[in-house]
């Protein structure tokens, strides 16, 4: 990246508690009200940094609509998507 530019929508670590099926139950302590969508991105497997993200678009109990994903290493991130 050149000086003066910055990446948009950079994923940020987020605290998510998930159920047995892997779906989020709460995000940063706020309960998940509804699961709107769920999708999977598996790409760049041919590079040293393969991408595997399981995305969830959620409606939280406080009314917010958030998108989080679980990375291939099992870490949770929040992303504006």
């Amino acid at each position: 990246m050149t000086a003066g530019t910055r990446r948009l929508y950079v994923p940020r670590r987020v605290d998510v508690s998930a159920g047995e099926d892997g779906a989020p139950l709460a995000v940063e302590g706020v309960a998940v009200e509804a699961l709107r969508e769920e999708w999977l991105v598996e790409d760049r497997w041919w590079t040293p940094r393969p991408l595997r993200r399981h995305y969830y678009e959620l409606v939280l109990a406080d009314g917010r609509d958030v998108t989080v994903f679980r990375s291939g290493r099992g870490r949770w991130f929040r992303q504006r998507a």
Binding site: R36, E37, E38, W39, L40, V41, E42, D43, W45, W46, T47, P48, Y55, E57
Partner: protein, 1151 residues
């Protein structure tokens, strides 16, 4: 209703979706069976290419195959979408075939006849809805889901209503998919809502593209290959994740937890879809139901027998054989089958008359000839389907025709290429364009193609891909790609992630079909329109069409396949006969040539067989001086000997050894494994050489019935199965024991049979090929220039590239001349002093058999003139018009040529580079008042001047309507130009024609090479076992499967050729050089055995121009001159390396 599995997959793609599916039908079916599916649908894109194979393998696995396809439909002008169609009944299958045929009908309408995307208008689908179940299409491109994705929901709903009206409530379903894309839930909710409003059920499908997760990356890469893009740039079109892998029924039910009815609907639908492709499709071949066929065939054969055997002492024997064959044929209901083949041959006769012309020297030749086991049948001989008398040749039709046969016999017919080209469209005309078609073939991924395709998808550097692909070779095993890559680009680069990914992908891709093509000559003919039994699509060649099944699927469907094959050597022999007529005025009848010509057999025994059919390979040449064939029977064995079957069965060495012993001692007793084998193995000296000998041995030694023995042969060949073979093994040992054969003997013979399981020729086939081998050897000896000329005109064919053919002929004294615009034709031809070129091209022809009386005088004057068509990159029509115009009046100079010939500047420059304008330079020089060409110190100056003049001459302008001639303005004289020199000329020759008639590159290099580097002829005086070093251009490389990793190379220097044997450890060390270097030097041990000479290589490297000797002359200017000379040669060698013809590579196939 299906019990057990909660879900059945109704939408799956195999690799027959061509670059949009990463598993074979067998892999999909096996995985489905393992996962507990009771049924599975195959729905490849716009085709049923893999459906029969799928149905057959499913049957074997106890899985029910559901036939279907994903059809591309045009819903509005220019707007395409997918529908999933599943077959419920025979009527539905016929409708699917018609729809697929229609979808492909326009795909070759462009001028290049390249394949375009198939599609069919929605209206056509509406007309052919009967018997089909229609699902609304996939999540991305489906008729409904696609409309929703595009924000055209109202339009999508309208299309759904049309489909509902066409297919009815029982035949239309809204398809839900869950590819784990971002808007799955929203899309499926919307689709389910529409289904409810329409009153039709939803059905869940998985849109499967591979059978296992390990194939998901390959699916991604194949999409990139299909789009001609890289993985990076094809991201929007790829599936995005691995959810299109076949999952278990339970996992799929869980995936659609929100739509349980859609999951249950898969079971209800699968239960209804009972159409079975393995049951009869109603196919019949013409004549199959003719009640008079038996009588007609018998009448034809008896009449012909009376003529053919009128004076034969074996007439009674022939009559007995004919009657027995007729009874068998009648019993099998195959009389119509033979009459159909005879009808085809009559058609071929008509075509041959038209192609050859009544006056041609070829007119006396039959239109084609049989090959394969059918040559053993007297019915085939008498109906003209074979040219070998099976009574005289002692051929027996057991393998071809027996009472217990369960499948249609194979009759393969060879034709010269030009006749075959015309015959195929004529077959379409005769039997109806809708009732005849070629059989499909599916080129599969092999290592070299996989490296190129997948390497590009991975965006690996093109130069590296090229180097690795060249090193891998066409037939290398997939597991060797990594080692080849390390040899080509180094271990460090080969360890890069992209290359690691490539090695994995190549391993997965091996053997998968890449695209559809046409079988070399297999045709199916039907009494019904073919498109009611299999979709028919246009072929790349105009006037041809292909069914969507390959030969195995056609055989499984019970189709009669007729092989009309093009055989290069047959064409070459015919061309040769014609050329002899033109050059010498002799009319040869090959059926009347002496079959015991001493000179011909002498050359065969001396392995002087370059260009001769079947016995020109390095392996054959090694064997000929040891087997020493003396007649056609010997050649019949010889042709069959160098095949994987006899090699692996251990027949070669005993056969050679026993022939030698018999030569030395005619009373030598052949040691048979058991006396029972003597009658069946006598002609091959106790070894198994012919395919039918496997059958005969099993029958004689172990008491197999003919059908049991045929079953054994089949188990060993195409459909080889370990379990089935083991059953035959046990039966063989038990049968042999009951006949009193000791167990150890039975075991040894079984080992030979098992070893034979690789490919072998039937004797009848060998007899047909042996005769052609003799005929070609005879022509090579007695009509050398014409034979060479015909080989050059039929390329590509055979073992040797044109450059090697030319050099070998030159060493035998055949004279050749380079292309010349004032003398050459488009093809190569023989210039004759006796028959100067005539305007009508038809010299007076006399009837003479064999070499003519004044041959010596004539032979000396015959010259093979290289044709203008040999110049790379010239346009054929330009050369044709150039020759036509020259026939009116010869060209008087380059300006005249440029103005009249119709050739463009590019074409003229290519001709000039090839030396075809050299002789026009003389005219121009004379006009310009310059000294004559003969006064030039270096004749290569002509080519330089020709190039200069071509550059300044005004050429005609090409338009769509034709070429507008330019004014013949004289070109100004060329300035003083540096000649090309010998090196420059050789490089220009190779670059422009792929061959040089001038100095051999090794002769040019020789001065700079160490004196210790031997020439090919030097090896004759070197002792066996001595250390030698040789160098040359690589003519051929061979790595046969049967040779345990040994590579055989043939290199050529200015005096001849040298055989190199590269053992596996040496190959591993010098892999890149062995695979790809055009010029090599090799050090090793000389091995001489029974007339053959080889170098067993210990070290091998690229041949380089050596550094100048350290002893430098004192004079500075001479030192510089020497250094400059060295530098020039070094550059020349490097350039030669780039343009030298690639040696032919042969060897391993498949995985």
């Amino acid at each position: 209703m299906m019990e057990g599995a909660p879900y059945i997959e109704l939408h799956a793609h195999s690799a027959f979706s061509f670059l949009d599916g990463a598993s074979t039908p067998l892999e999909l079916a096996s995985a489905a069976a393992e996962l507990g599916y009771p049924a599975l649908a195959l729905t490849d894109h716009d085709g049923t290419w893999g459906s029969m194979e799928f149905a057959q393998v499913c049957q074997g696995l106890g899985l029910r195959a559901i036939t279907g396809a994903e059809l591309t439909v045009e819903t509005a002008p220019g707007r395409r979408a997918h529908l999933t169609l599943l077959v419920e009944s025979g009527a539905g299958y016929r409708n699917l075939c018609r729809l697929l045929t229609h979808a492909h009908a326009h795909t070759r309408d462009n001028t290049a006849r390249s394949a375009e995307q198939p599609w069919v208008p929605l209206e056509r689908v509406e007309e052919h809805a009967g018997g089909l179940v229609c699902l609304s299409g996939c999540a991305g491109d489906g008729v409904l889901a696609g409309a929703w994705e595009a924000g055209e929901w109202r339009r999508g709903a309208d299309l759904a209503r049309r489909l509902l009206a066409a297919f009815g409530r029982e035949g239309f379903r809204v398809e839900l998919q869950r590819p784990y894309w971002r808007r799955d839930r929203a899309r499926n909710r919307r689709l389910a809502g529409l289904a409810e409003r329409l009153g039709v059920p939803c059905v869940a499908t998985g849109n499967v593209h591979s059978h296992a997760r390990s194939r998901a990356p390959l699916q991604d890469a194949l999409v990139a290959v299909r789009l001609g893009a890289t993985l990076e740039t094809s991201e929007p079109q790829r599936r995005g994740n691995s959810s299109s892998v076949l999952a278990s029924p339970r996992a799929m039910a869980a995936r659609f937890a929100e739509h349980p009815d859609a999951v249950a609907e898969t079971l209800r639908l699968a239960d209804r879809l009972r159409f079975d492709l393995t049951e009869g499709l109603g196919y019949r071949y013409p004549g199959s139901e003719n009640p008079a066929a038996d009588a007609e065939l018998a009448a034809v054969c008896r009449a012909r027998l009376a003529e053919r055997y009128a004076a034969s002492r074996r007439r009674r024997e022939a009559e007995g054989r004919l009657e027995r064959e007729l009874v068998t044929i009648s019993h099998l209901g195959l009389s119509g089958f033979f009459l159909l083949h005879r009808d085809l041959l009559e058609l071929a006769r008509e075509v041959a008359r038209e192609v050859r012309g009544a006056e041609s020297a070829r007119a006396v030749l039959p239109p084609g000839r049989g090959r394969g086991s059918s040559v053993s049948s007297i019915v085939c001989y008498l109906t003209g389907l074979s040219h070998v008398d099976p009574v005289e040749a002692e051929l027996f039709p057991g393998r071809f025709l027996n009472e217990e046969a369960t499948s249609m016999p194979d009759i393969d017919l060879d034709f010269p290429r030009d006749i075959r080209e015309k015959l195929i469209p004529r077959v379409h005309e005769r039997y109806g364009a809708d009732r005849s078609a070629l059989v499909a073939a599916f080129p599969t991924y092999r290592p070299r193609g996989a490296v190129r395709d997948l390497g590009k998808a991975l965006a690996l550097p093109p130069q590296e891909i090229d180097r690795v692909a060249k090193t891998v070779g066409f037939h290398e095993g997939a597991n060797e790609i990594e080692r080849c890559a390390i040899a080509a680009i180094g271990a460090r680069r080969a360890a890069a992630p992209g290359w690691r990914a490539l090695f994995g992908l190549c391993g997965e891709a091996m053997g998968l079909p890449r695209h559809a093509s046409q079988h070399p000559g297999g045709m199916v003919i039907s009494t019904l329109p073919l498109l009611d039994v299999c979709p028919v699509v246009p072929a790349a060649m105009e006037g041809r069409q292909i069914v969507q099944w390959d030969k195995d699927s056609c055989a499984d469907a019970g189709f009669l396949k007729i092989d009309l094959l093009g055989l290069g050597m047959l064409s070459a022999v015919e061309r040769c006969v014609e050329e002899v007529g033109r050059a010498r005025g002799e009319r040869l009848d090959l059926s009347r040539i002496p079959l015991d010509d001493a000179e011909t057999y002498e050359s065969i025994r001396a392995a002087e067989t370059t260009g001769v059919f079947q016995i020109e390979s390095r392996a054959q040449m090694q064997m000929l001086p040891r087997t020493r064939p003396r007649n056609l029977d010997d050649l019949t064995v010889q042709v069959a000997l160098v095949r994987p079957g006899p090699i692996q069965g251990g027949a070669i060495h005993p056969y050679i050894e026993r022939r030698k012993r018999l030569r030395e001692d005619p009373s030598f007793e052949i040691p048979y494994e058991h006396p029972l084998l003597k009658p069946v193995l006598e002609e091959t000296l106790g070894t198994i050489v012919f395919q039918e000998q496997v059958i005969e041995v099993a029958m004689e030694l172990a008491g197999f019935s003919s059908s049991e023995a045929e079953g054994l042969r089949r188990a060993m060949s195409r459909k080889r199965s370990e379990a089935e073979l083991e059953k035959h093994h046990e039966r063989f040992l038990a049968g042999a024991r009951s006949r009193g054969v000791p167990p150890r003997v039975a075991r040894r013979v079984w080992e030979q049979i098992q070893g034979f399981s690789g490919f072998g020729f039937p004797k009848a086939h060998s007899a047909a090929f042996g005769l052609l081998a003799y005929q070609s050897a005879w022509l090579r000896i007695h009509y050398a220039p014409e034979f060479l000329c015909s080989l050059l005109n039929e390329q590509p064919m055979g073992f040797y590239p044109p450059d090697a053919l030319v050099h070998e002929a030159q060493r035998r004294g055949v004279r050749l001349a380079p292309p010349d615009v004032n003398r050459s034709h488009v093809l190569c031809h023989v210039e004759s002093p006796r028959h100067p070129r005539r305007r009508d091209g038809n010299p007076r022809i006399s009837w003479e058999i064999g070499p003519s009386a004044g041959e010596a005088e004539l032979r000396g004057g015959l010259v093979v003139r290289i044709g203008l068509g040999y110049v790379k990159g010239v346009r054929e029509e330009e050369m044709e018009s150039l020759v036509e115009e020259r026939e009116r009046a010869g060209y008087r100079g380059i300006a005249d040529l440029a103005s009249r010939s119709g050739a463009g500047r590019d074409g003229l420059e290519r001709l000039a580079w090839a030396g075809a304008l050299d002789n026009l330079v003389a005219t121009t020089r004379r006009r310009a008042g310059k000294s004559p060409i003969s006064s030039l110190s270096d004749p290569s100056a002509k080519r330089r001047e020709a190039l200069w003049e071509t550059g300044v001459a005004a050429t005609g302008a090409r338009h769509a309507e034709g070429t507008q001639m330019a004014l013949p303005l004289e070109t100004p004289g060329a300035p003083s130009l540096q000649p090309l020199g010998e090196w420059g000329e050789a490089i220009a020759d190779y670059r422009s024609t792929g061959m040089t008639l001038g100095a051999h590159p090794m002769a040019l290099m020789r001065g700079g090479l160490e004196p210790g580097l031997l020439r090919s002829t030097d090896l004759e005086r070197i002792a066996d076992g001595a250390s030698v070093e040789v160098a040359g251009m690589v003519v051929a490389r061979q790595r046969p499967d049967t040779a345990k990793g040994i590579v055989f190379m043939l290199i050529e220097d200015e005096r001849g050729t040298v055989n190199l044997i590269v053992p596996p450890p040496v190959y591993d060390r010098f892999r890149a050089e062995v695979r790809a270097a055009p010029l090599v030097r090799a050090r090793g041990r000389l091995e001489r055995r029974e007339g053959t000479t080889n170098v067993l290589v210990a070290e091998l490297g690229e041949l380089e121009e050596p550094e100048p000797a350290p002893r430098t002359p004192p004079d500075v200017s001479r030192r510089r001159e020497r250094r400059d000379g060295h530098e020039l040669r070094r550059r020349a060698v490097a350039e030669l390396r780039a343009v030298a013809p690639a040696g032919h590579s042969f060897g391993r196939r498949g995985r």
